[in-house]
């Protein structure tokens, strides 16, 4: 379909703006600062705008469209009431620099959310500021730095331990925080290899970063031992909360011994993912780390009411503007209030759904670790590839023809031809069965008609897209007059990179 720029006609417009002919025209701007050439924004009437984006939306697939088992992303239903609440003028039009007295409702909501997150993570203090999990990770590692700096161990402790199953953001955050990476292996049951670990944790270790359950969807059975190792060595433990959906109300990171947690509000606590964001990545910490949290802190005042406290002399500073993505807080807060203590049922259903799908897919796909899973699991298309030349990518593309969004693929890296499947709690058994039937049918197709997979998808607005070409000759903006016309010589597409995390 056409780009909005290709629909543009000079002289058209969607906007009318207030004009104040009465006012004296503004002072001329200095020549060298004045815009020399108008930007070529689209010129369309309002209804063309609406039609264009309406049509675009029909070429997109969301949770509202159907099943979206994208592993590690927790694509659950997003209650519509949350949208209504976040849009209330009292929130949407509230300026972040409003005086405290003029923002009591917003401050109270944030304070209540902090309290809830502390209870759910089993930790003491919460900062809502980070904009997403990744920023939560960086914030957490900067907290680790500040903590050891305050103890005079900054120079000594330069290493952060990360298992080979970790999400890419973990190592990336380690580097951004100025730390060195110490990788640790995964054992035959899918837990951290504790022997390997013992040899790598010492007085130079600053922290462990762990996702538990791991990206394999497996809960680390040795977590207590691991806790002893790290705390024994005077190091801290960081919990990547991306998989919190598995354990809410059942086991809390604080109970597992973690000192710092980031929570992906947009995963476990239901935010519409918006095609890539927004999210929220609050961090919860043990009391020893509270002094270092970002400013301002949202506090309840002795004298009553709520406020913003900048008085944290040891703070790491700010990682984002203001106090965080407030609209995200409204949604997650409402979500929490509609669950209350029943939140445990949410995690139980998520784990039940995942195990059910796993049980049904075992027969046709390789299972790297034969255990019960938590809220998600990883299977492999390794045999399909060996026997029929159909890769995880082919399976993913073929799933599209059955009307499902593919799972995450080629992640975690330690599992070849990985398919990482997370159904979430909000799916009906009928949907899970339909998905399983499709996966099993696809496995059969791989044997009978492999090209059905290799040439998939067949029923989407576009056929398989050439990602290699896109990276080789990047076209990242519309070229107007000089925009390249696609040459029709088809090119085969293929990629083995992690897709979906």
């Amino acid at each position: 379909m056409k780009l909005i720029y290709e629909k543009s006609q000079s002289g058209r417009r969607a906007s009318a703006l207030p004009r104040h002919e009465s006012l004296t025209p503004p002072p001329e701007l200095p020549e060298e600062l004045r815009r020399s050439e108008p930007p070529r924004l689209p010129e369309v009437p309002e209804f063309e705008l609406v039609r264009h984006f309406t049509e675009l939306s029909t070429r997109n697939f969301g949770v509202d469209t159907g099943f979206y088992p994208l592993g590690s992303c927790t694509m659950k239903y997003n209650p519509r009431i949350n949208e209504r609440l976040a849009a209330l003028p009292g929130f949407a039009r509230l300026h972040p620099l409003q005086e405290e007295e003029g923002a009591q409702g917003a401050l109270e909501l944030m304070w209540r959310l902090q309290e809830i997150l502390a209870e759910v993570t089993g930790l003491h203090a919460v900062s809502l500021q980070p904009a997403a999990g990744s920023q939560g990770e960086l914030t957490g590692l900067l907290l680790v730095r500040a903590y050891f700096a305050a103890r005079g161990e900054a120079e000594q402790r330069r290493k952060v331990v990360i298992p080979d199953t970790a999400h890419g953001t973990n190592p990336a955050s380690v580097t951004m925080a100025g730390y060195e990476l110490t990788p640790v292996r995964t054992d035959a049951r899918g837990n951290i290899d504790v022997d390997d670990l013992r040899g790598k944790v010492d007085e130079h270790t600053a922290a462990l970063m762990l996702t538990n359950p791991s990206t394999l969807g497996l809960f680390d059975e040795n977590i207590e031992e691991i806790e002893r190792i790290f705390h024994g060595a005077g190091a801290l433990m960081y919990y990547d909360g991306a998989n919190l959906n598995a354990v809410c109300g059942i086991s809390r990171p604080g109970d597992m011994g973690f000192d710092i947690v980031h929570i992906n509000l947009h995963k476990t606590f239901s935010q519409p993912h918006g095609g890539g964001g927004p999210g929220g990545g609050p961090v919860a910490v043990r009391d020893i780390l509270e002094p270092f949290l970002p400013v301002p802190a949202v506090v309840r005042r002795e004298e009553g009411g709520f406020g913003l406290d900048y008085g944290r002399p040891q703070t790491i500073g700010k990682v984002r503007g203001f106090t965080g993505p407030f609209g995200v807080f409204v949604r997650s807060y409402a979500f929490f209030r509609m669950w209350g203590p029943r939140l445990r049922e949410m995690s139980e259903a998520a784990v039940l759904n995942a195990n059910y799908v796993l049980a049904r897919l075992k027969e046709a796909y390789d299972l790297p670790f034969d255990r019960l899973c938590m809220h998600e699991f990883v299977v492999s298309a390794r045999s399909l590839k060996k026997q029929h030349g159909c890769t995880a990518l082919d399976v993913a593309k073929r799933l599209m023809d059955y009307g499902f969004h593919p799972p995450t693929i080629y992640f975690p890296l330690i599992v070849p031809e990985a398919l990482m499947i997370e159904p979430t709690e909000t799916e009906a058994k009928e949907t899970l069965d339909a998905f399983c039937d499709a996966m099993l049918a696809i496995a059969r197709e791989a044997a009978d008609e492999p090209e059905l997979l290799q040439e998939a998808p067949h029923r989407r607005p576009v056929k398989r897209l050439d990602e290699v070409r896109a990276a080789k000759h990047p076209v990242v903006t519309y070229g107007f007059g000089e925009h390249p016309q696609p040459d029709v010589e088809p090119a085969p597409a293929s990629t083995q990179a992690p897709t979906g995390v």
Binding site: L49, P89, F91, I250, H273, A471
Partner: protein
């Protein structure tokens, strides 16, 4: 009762457990050591129905003095611009709202094409060659730029002007500790930055960050600042307001290496600080150092045009500890809001909007002086939609007194700048009317010293 967010009936549960081969749901958690289990119910208030949660949260919203309840001249980084109804209408389309990052392009052409259109709009406005799909906000993209500059120049100092948004400076400093960068600030002289002074500070700096219009609302001699930075071999980074770029020159035109900023003013509600989006654009040479998602055009196996996430070898899921950034979840939906809004405006609308801000702000300056005897701090400087005035007494007291009269007169600059306790930063968007400005003047006449 089955929770409305679940589909699980008792018979479903039994069947599923049977297929799994366990007797109870508890068994599914057998890998969890006893010692770490919660073993009690979460200590949270009882579940509420939708109707009850609506009543409760709406009551919280009522207790905020938002811009619909209080006449608002607050700016200082976030602005009460009008967000047209088409923005929400588009963003509330479930297919866009409830999708995630378009990892599987054949499922996500809608979002991918929209991001491509967004990238184009940002590049058109800034005069740059490449834009990412969004950063967290106007502060974090500045930190991102430092990471780009560090690797591009191999240098480890960042220069930022004091007239740049204080929150941007704070976030840059926070990230800098991790990046191993030193941050130095260059003071303003009468509201703007002196190019000579900047050039001296920029010696062996990786980047020079300045804001246009700056935090005081004044127009910096941007071309000279950029030249000064370049002179010193530092990357000139312009922090700009998209809505000013209908009337102000595109940073790319005067040589900036990167242009970035806070996107909220273009298509997002202030929403007490977010969610909003940061835009980040750069010259072609930095394309492989950019953080975050970038969408590129390609073809499918039938030769049809399509869009995909591209240059992913920059990113954490492939490059891991060598990635250009750790960002994954970003602010796509808010950036789409920006695209819809900019499409709504069009070039004509954008220019008119800029002109309206200019004339209303000029009118405000004049009225405040005439009616309230409140004079601009930087009288000789040209401003866009925001300006600083001396109010003759502590500005926070003035704010409190004005709010009692239903007007929030602006931001007390003393919160960030020494010696400015009596200075108010007044923002005037196209959403304000001359009558409302007169009202501000009258209120200040009462409450200013």
């Amino acid at each position: 009762m089955t929770h409305p967010f679940l589909a699980l009936t008792d018979s479903d549960r039994d069947e599923m457990l049977g297929t799994i081969g366990v007797a109870t749901v508890d068994e599914l958690f057998r890998d969890l050591p006893e010692g770490i289990r919660l073993g009690r119910e979460l200590d949270l208030e009882p579940a509420l129905s939708e109707q009850e949660v609506f009543a409760h949260v709406a009551e919280l919203a009522e207790r905020n003095a938002d811009a619909s309840r209080e006449l608002c001249f607050l700016g200082a980084g976030m602005y009460d611009h009008y967000v047209p109804a088409v923005v929400d209408a588009v963003l509330q389309r479930g297919e866009l709202l409830t999708a995630y990052t378009p990892y599987q392009p054949e499922m996500s052409q809608g979002v991918l094409q929209a991001i491509f259109e967004y990238q184009t709009a940002v590049c058109e406005l800034t005069g740059m060659d490449v834009s990412n799909a969004s950063g967290y906000d106007g502060t974090s993209v500045a930190a991102d730029a430092c990471y780009v500059a560090k690797h591009a120049t191999g240098r480890d100092r960042i220069v930022v002007t004091e007239a740049t948004n204080p929150q941007v400076r704070q976030v840059v400093k926070t990230y800098a500790t991790g990046f191993g960068l030193e941050v130095v600030e260059v003071a303003h002289r009468g509201g703007t930055t002196d190019p000579g002074e900047l050039e001296r500070a920029a010696a062996d700096a990786a980047a020079v960050i300045f804001q246009q219009p700056n935090f005081f609302g004044c127009l910096e001699p941007a071309p000279e600042l950029v030249a000064a930075a370049a002179e010193a071999g530092a990357l000139p980074v312009a922090h700009v307001d998209l809505l000013s770029l209908g009337v102000l020159e595109a940073p790319g035109r005067y040589g900036a290496a990167l242009a970035l900023g806070e996107g909220q003013s273009a298509g997002n509600f202030p929403s007490f600080g977010g969610p909003n989006y940061g835009f980040l654009a750069a010259r072609q040479e930095f394309i492989r150092r950019m953080p975050g998602r970038i969408v590129g055009e390609t073809v499918d196996t039938a030769g049809e045009r399509g869009y995909v996430l591209t240059l992913q070898t920059r990113e954490q899921h492939i490059r891991r500890e060598k990635a250009t950034s750790n960002i994954t979840t970003n602010q796509t939906l808010l950036a789409l809001g920006g695209l819809v809004y900019l499409t709504w405006l069009g070039p004509q609308g954008l220019r008119e909007l800029g002109e309206t801000c200019l004339s209303l702000a000029a009118y405000a300056k004049q009225r405040l002086a005439e009616r309230a005897g409140v004079e601009p701090v930087f009288a000789t400087q040209t401003t866009f939609k925001e300006f600083a005035v001396r109010v003759g007494r502590n500005a926070r007291e003035v704010v409190a007194a004005a709010r009692e009269r239903g007007v929030h007169p602006g931001y007390a600059l003393g919160r960030d700048y020494e010696g400015m306790d009596d200075v108010l930063l007044v923002a005037v968007t196209e959403r304000r009317t001359p009558e409302e400005i007169d009202r501000l003047a009258d209120v200040l006449a009462e409450v200013a010293g």
